[in-house]
Amino acid sequence: MATNTFNNFLTPQRGVEESAQLLQRLYLVERELLRALGGWHMSISNWELKSLVPRHWWQDSLHADAFRNRVLELRYPRRDVDSRHDPDLLSFLGELTRAQTDAEFALGIYHVVKPALIAAYEQYIAGCDTLLDAPSVHHIEHTLIDERAHLRAAEPVLAGLDSDQVAAAQPWVNYLSTYLSAIGGILGTGPRSDLPLKDACAGRPAYHVPPRAVRDPRFAPAVVESPRRPPRTPRESQVWYAIDHANEMWAAEVPGAMMWEWANMPWEFYMDAARWGYDEQRHAEMGIRRLTAWGFEMGIDYPMVGDPYHAIIEQGHGLLTVLALLYYFERDAPRFKQQAKEKYASLGDYTSAQDSDYDWADEALHLRYGYTWLNHMLGADAKQRLPELVKEAGELWERWLAERWERGEDGYGPFMERIEARIAAAEATEQAIA
């Protein structure tokens, strides 16, 4: 029988300061996960994996933002939230991008860090007063839904990776697991031991985004995605448009690259870049969905290539100019997408019209991102330099593309033959049905 007494105190649980410190670790892990996923995106060759990670880095940015805000609610100094991290945890997370294959990278993320992160969230909830720390519990419970879904979504992709590559990645997986254990786990509450600095996988060079956007070896080699001639028929217009959409993966890779290479930006930058990259991957998926429905084989019947990125990098410019090129394209996008919506609706292609409608809405965000962060990067010179840089980036791209076409180095011949054959076959089928 319950007895009323003043002695039935609860067992002491975590206080505000300790909770803030743990949540700041969770914020750091989510933040560095999205930076790692973004940075390595350019290097991923397996298309299914390349298509998977932008959604995960975007959701990780939402998790990180929720925990960052929650940390600030818990008497944690604003000036420390983005900088005062456990150096061991930071070093461990910095190892993730030192992977050397798709399998190493993916297994490090989906078989080491994310499972450990899920366990850390569960551990956090198990050790907290769910009344006193209810807002944290709310964020963690919602984050767990996403993180568990990430693991489920990754499994078939990992199963599709080259089995020899996966087998060869096991020492890397073991190294990361050992490293994480040695620092006491994600929350840092476990026993600590010596770091595995003598492991064969230790000491690899720091990762940098490569100068070329890697594409799946199952695809035919490609140089440019744009056909040399304009479309001659409405059907060609639909196909050209979908190919352009399908190739927007480069525009997902670029925000990812910026998230990695620009390591000390304001937190809002990573939020914006994460969303931008994910949107562009969705746009690529829109095009691929259309082309697949029309019977086109991705990367075989049409090119898949990151040519705008190559154009800027090959001419000796860096990521800032690539960002300017992205903004150069975005500036014209609302007019273009609005017209596309109307045009494809008039042709009865309501799928392409609807793709354009949502793409058009996304562009409003991207224009704000581009303008805001170009201004930030250019600093005091932005007023003069921003329009100059955007113009220069556009000219670099146009010149590079024109040169490929003029010299016959666009590599488009085989693709054009297959595109025309596919359209002819589809039209013949339609006529037969009619």
Binding site: P334, A361, L367, R368, K383
Partner: protein
């Protein structure tokens, strides 16, 4: 601002030849859309800058309620630029558009 000026519809003319009526408390962009005038736009909230245009004559000002949210700097405003999605026309006005 003279309150009487916003109680009546005004005419806005674009240098590309289009003209349209703008009602009180209606944004210039909304009026253009209503009239079927093709002005590129996207966010409709003053943050994407797609509809930025220079006012050559008349009085078109940003809606004061949302000034802090607009992605336009004071130099541009001083030079006559306005985000049409977030602007109200107070008198008959002319806007530079070459598209």
């Amino acid at each position: 601002m003279n309150a009487n000026l916003v109680d009546v519809a005004v005419m806005v003319t674009l240098t590309n030849g289009y003209s349209f009526e703008v009602f009180p408390n209606e944004t210039v962009l909304d009026a253009a859309i209503r009239a079927g005038i093709p002005i590129p736009y996207s966010c409709r909230s003053g943050t994407c800058r797609t509809c930025i245009s220079r006012v050559i004559s008349g009085s078109i000002e940003h809606d004061p309620e949302y000034l802090d949210d607009l992605l336009i700097d004071q130099d541009e405003v001083a030079d006559g630029y306005r985000l049409l999605c977030s602007s109200l026309a107070h008198t008959d006005s002319v806007i530079e558009r070459d598209d």
